[in-house]
Point group: C2
Chain length 403, copies 2
């Protein structure tokens, strides 16, 4: 190998203060950097794992009933728009069932002409589509309704994830069974111990719902409903019934637990909104965010995620002065409809306190509201469907806290 001349080396020393003395002391440049040359690494393997230096995990509250609850995606460590399947958020009611796909069936019955029972092998023979879609729990960032908020973005906003889902259009199967006159709802039921069930309007079922069996290029993960899950573009995660084994076509909703006592919105006047499936435009800065520390003044990439259940993100604005002024962030293309959209902004931290936040606008023209505007309409009795603007405080010493 040609080795560069001494003048180049000397210049390198000038710029290489951060390197320590080791870099150019060794005999050849090809051994100049890190690692031990000649020492064999790990063999090729059948199924890869992440680096032992990577520690990001989902967070959940310690509880005596770990089969029910939520676990939160570590958004502060996220890059790009896809969520690794191993870190996809979870919300379960009676744990993750272990289902052998060879014995699993999807039964479609009720107000249909030709009830059907499909094996997984039969489902996989049907025409399929793939879509990259965000999935968000209806309760995501519910802690933000209160004054005392979560300390970091994982706990405040981590019930949102994004995957490439693959499956069969539900409309295709419903056409096959023949919907009877007067039918208007579909009851979807999971094979988990509690038989979690939700009522889905038939119009949506005939629109763009997927019977998903694939996630990020492989089978669904057990925690995401293996072997079959409803994926309802733009609707709250709870309606996307996991471990799906039954669809019953009816002329009314069933008023199940998770659409009456849960996942409905108690309004200031004491009435509750129900069947509020649609997730609205939302965004959050993931770096810098609560719990992180900047190493000092200088250039950083401010970044975060935006999404909307109604379609594409058209714009994300950033404030660094608590909302007085806003500048447009760069949006990562392609901006897929109803998917996480990564936004970024080169940003110089001057070592002075700043209040930073992002504000998303979707293709319908809907603008993410401030917390105050949201509370003015909905009050603070609802734990669900919070999508207010999220402020972080960057302190002069570089530490970041919730506001």
């Amino acid at each position: 190998m040609r080795i560069s001349g001494r003048s180049s080396r000397r210049r390198m020393l000038g710029f290489g203060a951060a390197l320590g003395g080791g870099l150019l002391a060794s005999a050849t440049e090809s051994r100049a950097v890190d690692g031990v040359p000649g020492q064999l690494g790990i063999p090729l393997g059948p199924y890869g794992e992440r680096s032992p230096f990577e520690k990001a995990v989902r967070w959940r509250r310690d509880t005596k009933t770990p089969e029910t609850g939520s676990s939160f995606t570590p958004l502060q460590d996220s890059v790009g728009a896809i969520t690794p399947s191993s870190l996809h958020y979870e919300r379960h009611h009676t744990g993750i069932p272990t289902i052998d796909p060879a014995g699993h069936r999807l039964v479609i019955h009720g107000m249909v002409d030709r009830p059907l029972s499909l094996t997984m092998a039969e489902i996989r023979r049907l025409p399929s589509v793939s879509r990259t879609l965000v999935l968000e729990c209806g309760g995501n960032s519910g802690s933000e309704w209160a004054v005392k908020t979560a300390p970091d973005v994982q706990r405040s906003h981590g019930l949102v994830s994004c995957s490439e889902w693959t499956g069969v259009p539900l409309s295709l199967v419903l056409k096959e069974v023949g919907i009877q006159r007067g039918a208007s709802w579909v009851i979807a039921e999971g094979a988990d111990a509690c038989r979690m069930a939700r009522s889905i309007p038939l119009a949506k079922a005939l629109d763009n719902i997927l019977l998903a069996y694939g996630q990020n290029g492989e089978a669904l993960r057990p925690a995401q409903g293996y072997p079959l899950r409803l994926i309802i573009p733009g609707w709250e995660g709870n309606a996307c019934v996991k471990w799906l084994h039954r669809l019953k076509v009816t002329d009314q909703p069933y008023m199940t637990r998770d659409e009456t006592s849960k996942y409905s919105d108690l309004m200031p006047d004491g009435k509750a909104r129900i069947f509020t499936f649609q997730m609205e435009a939302k965004s959050v800065i993931t770096f810098p965010s609560g719990g992180q520390t900047l190493s000092g003044p200088g250039l950083y990439e401010l970044t975060g995620l935006a999404w909307s259940g109604r379609g594409r993100i058209e714009r994300v604005e950033i404030t660094t002065d608590g909302g007085r002024t806003w500048v447009d962030a760069q949006l990562q293309e392609p901006r897929l409809p109803i998917a996480l959209t990564r936004f970024r902004l080169p940003w110089r931290f001057e070592g002075r306190e700043e209040l930073i936040a992002s504000r998303a606008t979707d293709e319908s023209g809907y603008v993410q509201p401030s917390r105050e505007a949201l509370i003015e309409v909905r009050g603070t009795n609802s734990g669900y469907h919070y999508n207010g603007i999220k402020l972080w405080r960057v302190q002069a010493d570089g530490t970041v806290t919730n506001v």
Copy 2:
């Protein structure tokens, strides 16, 4: 819950022959299907795994030196376009180094005004982009040059994978260091034991190469170059140097092992093509493919993957009669440039032998050639850059073999 009437149940029995007698025998419909109601599942967890029923793994040849070689992505089990990071193909020369990112540096030197050494933390502060890109080994489907070919699509075509990569544009860093007059190449070197190195034309380095640290929403996997890898859109995987620790700007290529004795194309006249970085349009049917068995005549979804190093896939045609007639497959949108594109075609297997194949056309107008046309130009002395049309034989009994 409202239970549907008896007439509906009776019809269901009529269609439910495949179900066995168990379905409607139990007391309530809500317990009618699989699983044991009331039995708690697995608790929520910090880091998810796939189902124990999913067995797809990378394949590699048994060898006494498992640190060098290739492992192949199980394309026959793939769905959608993303490759799970755990199943991304591997091609290593001296194993996978275990690198602590806290100690890792990228040194940029040679014919530059301001040589630079960057820590990973510094690199992650720079402006970044995400791109979903296919990565293909220059040797992928090299077995197809020979008459005796691999028995399945994993071994014939499994050295191709697709990820969402995130990183810093190399052009940005090169502008920062100041390229000197007369410079025309960049030598990229990895921190693996053999210090794998490739020469990259400066024009490409200033175009669209990424210093990638992210893959599918998290850090690069160790097998993909953790913590830093060159990702060169559209170019052979070998040039996308893993465990990148050094970039040297020069006025000539270094004629390294992997660009002279390897990854060059020996032509029929005894001369060799060198620096054939560009990967051309290619496609392969993943279902049905070699080693699979159809359960009998009937409707199936024929599906596969297409890609091109030159941009978007514009068209994929399917033949089921050995190339006499072709029909257009459906292409999954969005068709991202230089990414895997999933194609699909509803297909009725009649229980008669068929010869099936796919043919891709990219946005440059390039059409994937037949094996014969490819060999007419390049002969059979080259192990690299094979992109011929791939035929599978579906036999009358439903078994599928290579041709």
